[in-house]
């Protein structure tokens, strides 16, 4: 699938912010075997006094910006054309958890995509006895079936509720609430898998929403999304699951970032010197592109 993606983030500050430095992670990368970025751009208003672009440890695109002058709002616009083409899942040959552990021990590397980075507890997705116990009833004959089952159970057992949690909410709190949004469901699934000894990470990105039959696509109505990647052994490698929708990641899932949890891929981090609060808005459009035949 080919998409044109537009993202608009806006922050309004109660009191003018003096200076400030941010890191922005919103530009989709090319992910081998999953997606290819054809064009992408990122702009800011007001224009920052400093800007630099780099790749972080996990290979995410980071734009670092700094403002010297006082400003009372920040506008971020990203647009990109991305082609997504995920392979069809093949026959499940992934090992069970005990064998997965042996295969994991045999990976002698710390390169960013090795599973070792995704096994230990992290800030938002800490290993938690209650979540591990919940996940244990999904443990099956293979890593893939374990992950798929856990993904489906979270989809069934938890209620989508945009008001129940915040971006700071940790897996254990959302688990107790039994509600939350894509970020929370992903953290719960990650925490559960890690508790079982299965490496799991956080994927942030966009999801194309398909409007109801006969209705037009609403502008700006799409949203940023998050799902889970799971290491399913030496041969099967990383597989992605979406517990918010109870499905594997599809060609409607466009990746922006990978990390251990939300804090590795937060779209914007930064410190503002302001006395007041701030209000954020976001608008996302994921528009399928149909190329006219010549």
């Amino acid at each position: 699938m080919l998409y044109d993606i537009r993202l608009k983030l806006r922050y309004d500050y109660d009191a003018a912010a003096g200076g400030g430095r941010h890191q922005v992670r919103v530009l989709p990368p090319t992910v081998s075997g999953v997606q290819r970025v054809i064009a992408a751009s990122l702009s800011f208003a007001p224009a920052p006094s400093e800007r630099s672009d780099f790749s972080d440890f996990f290979g995410n695109n980071v734009t670092s910006i700094a403002f010297r002058d006082v400003h009372d709002a920040l506008d971020i616009r990203m647009s990109a054309r991305v082609a997504v083409s995920r392979p069809e899942p093949g026959l499940d040959v992934s090992p069970d958890i005990r064998r997965l552990r042996e295969e994991l021990d045999a990976v002698r590397s710390l390169s960013p995509d090795t599973p070792h980075h995704f096994l230990a507890a992290s800030d938002h997705a800490g290993i938690d006895a209650a979540i591990t116990a919940y996940a244990r009833s999904s443990a099956g004959n293979s890593a893939v079936s374990t992950a798929m089952d856990l993904c489906n159970r979270i989809y069934r057992d938890f209620t989508y509720d945009g008001e129940a949690t915040t971006v700071q909410t940790r897996a254990s709190d959302a688990f107790d609430l039994k509600r939350g949004v894509c970020q929370d469901f992903s953290h719960i699934m990650i925490a559960g898998l890690r508790g079982l000894g299965v490496p799991a990470g956080y994927v942030s990105g966009f999801l194309r929403t398909i409007p109801p039959r006969g209705k037009p696509r609403l502008e700006g109505a799409d949203a940023m999304h998050a799902w889970v990647k799971v290491w399913c052994g030496r041969d099967t490698g990383w597989q992605e699951f979406d517990p918010t929708n109870g499905m594997r990641a599809s060609n409607d899932h466009i990746t922006v970032g990978h990390g251990r949890d939300y804090s590795d891929v937060a779209p914007i981090v930064g410190v503002l010197k302001t006395t007041g609060g701030q209000v954020g808005e976001q608008a996302v459009d994921v528009i399928p592109v149909v190329l006219e035949k010549a």
């Binding site: 430095r21 700094a66 090795t114 230990a120 410190v271």
Partner: protein, 801 residues
């Protein structure tokens, strides 16, 4: 056991060793297995015995007095919160013979080099992981493995520049490494203070024994830091988490001792990829940062986002090679307890040699064979978290002695290790050697651990010949942590030949350079200004209160108009005269202490002591003093102490930019206070006696009597307290001083241009200089107070932003 035999041989009047009973099976530093003093201790003990108990007690009291005078403290955290504690010096130093020291040094230099190579591999090519020597899961799980700096080569070429190692001597007489400090080792400054205090007590003995000096170590490291900075053309700074840190005293002390800027995260900013310090002369580059805060807190953008003490963008500046961190961010990884389990193999692999000084035997339960060994030998083990960076004996919450577990705990721990082996390490339980402490006239053995410091210089690692010993409060070897009542002792490395006497002062042949002027950090300038303001505000308040209480004591009617007027005047400033020592006044002085506490590196120990004494006095008075006569006397005492403090600053502080801000703060506040009080007491409706009281508050009664052959009238009071340029209490005098000092501040907006504050003070000064007493009506005086106050805002905008 033949211990105690020497008693009969040595027939001294006071035998210090009479009650000395080392523990069976434990090495004692002072006496050998037969109870006889080791050679290096012999002369030392004899010298102590010759002094006798009375003199010794006096001597040791002298050391304690020094530490109190110098204001040495550390912070302890307990249920009651964080408190400053006096430094617990164990007066008897630990003596080590210099040949033994040479072996320790060689072992530690080897260790530092091995650590450098290991850390460079972990953040670089990762060959140790690839070869199966280091488990990747262990590193990936460590909070000290900092992904944002993976792949970054330090600008200085090295990760480690300053390390400390914790050593203990085992029952076989060999030294073991108990713990490694590679993050931001503390205590080197305390080692210096221990030395100063101990030699205060034992100067003659110290002089006669050939004890290696410490100053050279610090001089070499300072030169190394300056050398690193010179290459990149920036400054050296020490980065502290701030005054609430447990070892802030030491940060300030080292900064003062070495003449290095002491900064907090908010003093720094990143601009154009460079790390800059905000100073009163604008942004200045910093290229070497000796950090005393843990790496995870150094940059909220890329490390712990909740950190309030970091500098956004610091990690990016480090990745760009614009600044060298001492030690590099991520170096704390080497403190991980499980790391010790891999060191012997790493040493073989990287350097093809064994460890000269072994670590305490350590097993990481993430490996099956290690786990089985730990479980089979649980009673000989200390079990703790694999990723902990705390020393086993400092970490009693999560670290357990296998033999001390009761049945249920034991089973639970075994189950946890079987479930999550990678989370645990077992370490052989060590018995520390004992060293003497002086208790009630006798020496008694106490367990001790030794902390030794190493610094990197252009010529390689240098070892501090000495260090600091932590000595147990009781015979319990876990009781040596300072947070739990342990003591600290000096360490004397003793030679049988004369040693080089070193100082920090430049030697004849050294070339000297003046440090660049004008690098006063903005935050320090702001704190100095406020210190000046708070001190002056306290003084002005105390003067008014004294004038009030004198009259109250004599008045038949406490509601007489003048007293009531003063009550009403002070009330909006939070000063309630009903209380002899109003909480508002105490608050002002506490604020002065707080401001001074933020800049202790710029403050002489005498000044600090004077201020602490002032604060102690006023807090004491608050509970004892009654209004009226009693309060009058109390105010006089406080005034005298305030004058003492101001005098210290005025007479002893070098006239550098920092002093100017302090002076500006004082003059500003005095101008404001005098103008405000005058506006009140010289207004048309002022009660009887107000003018006399004003003269008294303005400390100008005698001058007035001499200058004006008439009774105090509104005109003469205004003339003397507003317009007389020779009266140090007049407003014009404050304005003249302000004009002079502001003109000498660093240029703003280009050389030769007047700063906004300079323009304002020039206008104000000129306007007042040409006034007549009749112009200075009460409303005019109130406006003047506001205008002087406005100067602060201009200064803040130009210099503290």
């Amino acid at each position: 056991m033949a211990k105690g035999n020497h008693k009969k041989i040595r027939g001294r009047s006071h035998n210090l060793l009479e009650h000395y009973q080392p523990i069976d099976g434990v090495v004692d530093e002072m006496v050998d297995a037969s109870g006889n003093p080791r050679p290096v201790w012999k002369d030392f003990i004899e010298a102590l015995e010759e002094l006798g108990p009375e003199k010794l007690a006096q001597r040791f009291a002298r050391a304690d007095q020094y530490l109190r005078d110098a204001g040495v403290y550390y912070r302890v955290y307990d249920k009651a919160g964080a408190n400053e504690r006096e430094w617990p010096l164990a007066h008897v130093p630990l003596l080590i013979e210099d040949q033994e020291w040479a072996a320790i040094s060689a072992g530690l230099v080897q260790r530092a080099e091995l650590f450098e190579e290991t850390i460079a591999d972990i953040y670089g090519p990762n060959r140790l992981v690839e070869k199966g020597i280091l488990p990747p899961g262990l590193i990936a799980a460590s909070p000290e493995y900092l992904r944002p700096v993976v792949g970054t080569r330090p600008a200085s070429g090295h990760f480690l520049h300053f390390c400390a190692f914790e050593l203990g001597r085992g029952p076989d007489g060999r030294w073991w490494v108990l713990g490694d400090r590679t993050q931001a080792p503390s205590g080197a400054g305390f080692a210096l203070e221990n030395r100063v205090a101990t030699t205060r007590a034992l100067s003659d003995i110290y002089g006669e024994m050939h004890v290696h000096r410490l100053a050279g170590f610090f001089r070499r490291f300072r030169d190394a830091l300056n050398g690193m900075a010179k290459v990149s053309g920036g400054r050296v700074a020490i980065l502290t988490p701030g005054p609430l840190n447990e070892t802030y005293y030491e940060h300030a002390y080292i900064a003062r001792y070495l003449g290095i800027m002491l900064l907090e995260g908010e003093d720094l900013t990143v601009s154009g990829g460079r790390l800059m310090v905000r100073t009163v002369s604008g942004l200045m580059p910093v290229s070497v940062l000796w950090r005393r805060l843990d790496a995870a807190f150094a940059d909220p953008l890329e490390l712990r986002p909740e950190s309030q003490i970091g500098t956004p963008g610091l990690v990016e500046a480090i990745r760009m090679g614009a600044v060298s961190a001492v030690n590099a961010l991520g170096s704390g990884l080497m403190e991980t307890r499980a790391m010790s389990a891999f060191l012997p193999k790493i040493s073989r692999e990287l350097r093809n040699e064994g460890l000269l000084l072994p670590s305490v035997a350590t097993w990481w339960c993430g490996r099956d064979a290690d786990r089985d060994h730990v479980l089979a030998n649980l009673d000989r083990m200390v079990i703790g978290p694999a990723l902990s960076t705390r020393l086993a004996f400092e970490d009693d919450d999560s670290t357990r002695l296998g033999s001390a577990l009761v049945a249920g705990e034991r089973a639970e721990l075994i189950a946890r290790i079987e479930r999550d082996g990678g989370g645990f390490v077992g370490q052989e339980a060590v018995t520390l050697s004992t060293t003497p402490v002086y208790v009630g006239g006798w020496l008694e053995p106490r367990p001790a651990a030794l902390r030794v410091y190493l610094a990197r210089t252009a010529e390689g690692w240098t070892v501090m010949p000495g260090g600091f010993a932590r000595v147990g409060f009781s015979l319990d070897p876990t009781a040596i942590a300072m947070q739990r009542g342990g003591q600290a002792a000096d360490v004397w490395v003793v030679s049988d030949r004369p040693v080089e006497r070193e100082t920090l002062l430049p030697q004849e042949h050294d070339t000297f350079t003046r440090t660049l002027p004008g690098s006063l950090p903005s935050r320090a300038a702001e704190n100095l200004t406020w210190l000046g303001r708070y001190i002056e505000r306290s003084e002005d308040t105390v003067r008014i209160l004294r004038a009030y209480h004198v009259r109250l004591a004599e008045a038949s009617d406490p509601d007489m108009p003048l007293l009531a007027d003063i009550r009403d005047y002070l009330e909006p400033f939070g000063i309630d005269v009903e209380t002899a020592i109003p909480p508002g006044l105490i608050g002002t002085l506490d604020s002065a202490v707080y401001s001074a506490g933020q800049i202790r590196d710029r403050f002489s120990p005498d000044g600090w002591l004077a201020l602490k004494d002032l604060s102690k006095t006023i807090h004491q008075f608050a509970t004892t003093v009654a209004p009226g006569d009693d309060a009058t006397r109390a105010m006089t005492v406080i005034l005298r102490k305030l004058a003492g403090f101001s005098g210290l600053l005025h007479e002893n502080m070098y006239r550098f930019t920092g002093w100017r801000f302090l002076e500006i703060g004082r003059r500003l506040e005095r101008g404001i206070q005098i103008a405000r009080t005058l506006a009140r007491l010289t207004r048309a409706a002022a009660p009887d006696g107000a003018l006399d009281m004003m003269l008294e508050i303005g400390d100008s009664v005698m001058t007035h009597r001499r200058q004006y052959p008439v009774q105090a009238g509104r005109r003469t009071v205004i003339d003397l307290l507003v317009l007389d340029p020779l009266n140090p209490r007049s407003i014009l005098f404050q304005l003249e001083r302000l004009k002079a000092e502001i003109a000498l501040l660093p240029a703003v907006g280009g050389e030769g241009h007047m700063s906004p504050a300079a323009k304002e003070i020039l206008q104000l000064n000129t306007a007042i200089a040409i006034k007549e007493p009749s112009d200075m009506t009460a409303p005019a005086l109130a406006d003047l107070a506001n205008e002087i106050g406005g100067l602060y805002n201009s200064l803040a905008k130009s210099y503290f932003g």
